[in-house]
């Protein structure tokens, strides 16, 4: 533990800027994955254990599209839509068959697909790690603010994820689609009786959640190496985020992800050997004091 270093960081503008933006970047990517996970759980009441694999698919799709077209914008768009479509097909063919069943059955279906997708990635892209490299548009020196370092690509990432968070928030709270989704989440039987096609709602929400995971993978690919199984670690962190924020709450996912990002960023200075521990400790505290999470509702 190095409290002196942490206090010195709080007293330094450059350290504050660098560590805060670093935390925001980590948190924002985590938010995209966790938001999808939370959205699916909130509406469908299933825990999508293969959400990390969708993140991995997004990264590989973007890698391939970028190598073919040379356009990062197309790569991100194509990967997000591709994973969204994959999620739709997966939900219709497999996941929809285990709604309302024991959680172990859902876990089994998801786990089998984690293994299938990992092997598929190895067959298609190879077992060795891959790297896409930074698109030319972002190959420029970082911006200096108050002595702190702000990489241009990370500013772009923050911008995109803030936009996604706003659109998602607007969609769920201010639109008719959002009302339908919320109705289907709260009382699917009543929603169905009122003429809402809940099957379509479920498929749409699963596809949207998958799209968000794919988008996160595509956005991360210029700075993360690609390898089969890469979704596992982000899945664990996403679960921590959803537990902290509250299962089913997109706003909770945002707050939880940012908290985790900032805790890791500043923790690496103050508690370098206990950064991971802090995350789990934080989660445990939330579970004890507010088991439904910061923004979760009683089930």
């Amino acid at each position: 533990m190095d409290l002196q270093a942490m206090l010195a960081c709080f007293a330094s503008a450059s350290c504050l800027v660098t560590q805060t933006t670093g935390g925001l970047i980590s948190g924002m990517l985590l938010f995209l994955v966790a938001a999808g996970l939370s959205l699916i759980f909130g509406t469908l009441k299933v825990i999508n254990f293969m959400h990390g694999s969708l993140y991995m698919l997004g990264a590989y799709f973007a890698f391939t599209i970028y190598n073919v077209t040379g356009s990062y914008a197309l790569a991100v768009l194509g990967a997000a839509l591709g994973v969204g479509l994959f999620g739709l097909v997966f939900e219709r063919l497999f996941m929809s068959r285990v709604y309302g069943t024991d959680v172990l059955m859902q876990l089994l279906v998801c786990y089998s697909f984690i293994l299938i997708l990992d092997d598929a990635v190895k067959i298609i892209w190879g077992a060795e790690f891959r790297s896409m490299g930074m698109p030319a548009a972002f190959q420029r020196p970082p911006i200096m603010v108050a002595g702190g370092v702000l990489p241009v690509f990370y500013l772009f990432l923050i911008g995109i994820t803030v936009l996604v968070a706003l659109v998602l928030g607007f969609l769920i709270t201010r639109t008719r689609i959002g009302k339908i989704v919320r109705a289907a989440a709260v009382n699917p039987t009543m929603a169905s009786a009122l003429g809402i096609n809940t099957t379509m709602v479920y498929a749409g929400v699963f596809a949207l959640g998958s799209l968000l995971a794919g988008l996160a993978g595509a956005l991360a690919v210029p700075v993360r190496s690609l390898v089969a199984g890469m979704g596992f670690s982000i899945l664990i962190e996403s679960f921590i985020v959803t537990v902290i924020g509250g299962m089913g709450s997109v706003a909770g996912a945002l707050v939880g992800a940012l908290l985790i990002g900032l805790v890791r960023s500043f923790g690496s200075i103050g508690f370098p050997l206990f950064t991971e521990g802090i995350m789990f400790l934080f989660m445990t505290l939330i579970l004890i004091t507010k088991p439904t999470g910061l923004f979760g509702k009683e089930l």
């Binding site: 190895k122 790297s131 896409m132 490299g133 370092v149 993360r224």
Partner: protein, 421 residues
Amino acid sequence: MQDSRKEPKNRRKFIKAASAITAAAGIGFPFVSRAQNKPIRIGMPTILSGRVAQLGISSRNSVTTEVEKFNAAGGLGGRKIEIITRDSKGKPDEAANNTRQLINGDGCEIIIDAESSAGAFAVQEVIRELKVLCLHTNSETSSLSADPKIRVATAFRTARQGIHDAIVSATYAANVAKAKGLRTWMSCSPDYAYGRDNTSLFMQYLKRFQPDIEMVGEAWPKLFQADYTENITKILQAKPQALYSALWAGDLVSFVDQAGIYNLLGQTNMFAINMADYTTLTAVKNLPQGIHSSNRYIKTFPANAENAAWADDYKARYGDYPTNWSWENAVAMNFIVSAIRKTNSTDSAKLADAIRGMKLKTPFGADGTITMRPEDQTTVGYALGWGTTIPKEPYVPNVTPGDWKAIFEHESEWKKSLGYT
């Protein structure tokens, strides 16, 4: 009086018995003949899935090539080598189970342990019990062979050894530090046994060779961590003049990519011991110029035609250049083949006696040879060196070779200090 009704039954019994004897004879005699020609089974516990699958794949590739050469040359009196690989997925308990199964279940007479260090120590305990010849090909943790309590009579190591690398690395880094005036240092290595041991040894020798250096911080990312932002920003805050890293493979690629967008490598001198391996060098899309690295494997060091031809043949066959693990496994197979030919046997004790002290002519040796040092059953004399990267082939054009005389001197002191000798 004999019951005539029993006759047909007895006849049938006789015919059955005769058929059985004939069949047994027919099967039995060829069985003896097959025993003479039965393959020499070599078991290979390794990692073939997950983020370090390349370890197992590139190890298996080079072993396969050497086995094919042996078999094409007629094998051992007609006995061909058959390789059986098993995937531990990087789990030590599975590595131990697989080794046991390979020996007891599959009848393997020799083990090439191509596990990482975590698995190698588990395999070593199985070898201690079953006393089969074993060559550890990928574990670099020094104590595996240096510590007499861990050493096993039939187990050898053909992997490079941590202490050798630490001495050469620190000698090179101290010279650069002296020339460039690099006083403040930091480390960023993976938080597990290899990362900690490697970094600790490097720093220990660096301080010894260049006493005025100062450590200004440490960052310990998890193994296979995806996001290094927190570590990079921490390094930026500490502003070290030099950074040492034992990150490797995909982790090192991610770190270099992420450090690039912070321009970290423009502000510090990076010493990445595991950079100069083709899978890593080619995976980093915008490989920065001037990263200092040890030679994991590059075809231009040692600079000899056989080394370059070996790498080109490997690439032509498998599509990628070989890795550090490839040459270490090729050397293991060369030792095994030489011992089999020398003893005309596959008996583990005889093979171990033959390998102990054996000097092998190989393109990977600093002077064209690698020796299996008898006292601790580990290889010495392999090519070690450091240089700086350029973004295209040959990637590390000028490698400064390590001095084996200095390695032996410091290693001997190190062993004494730990009570190994």
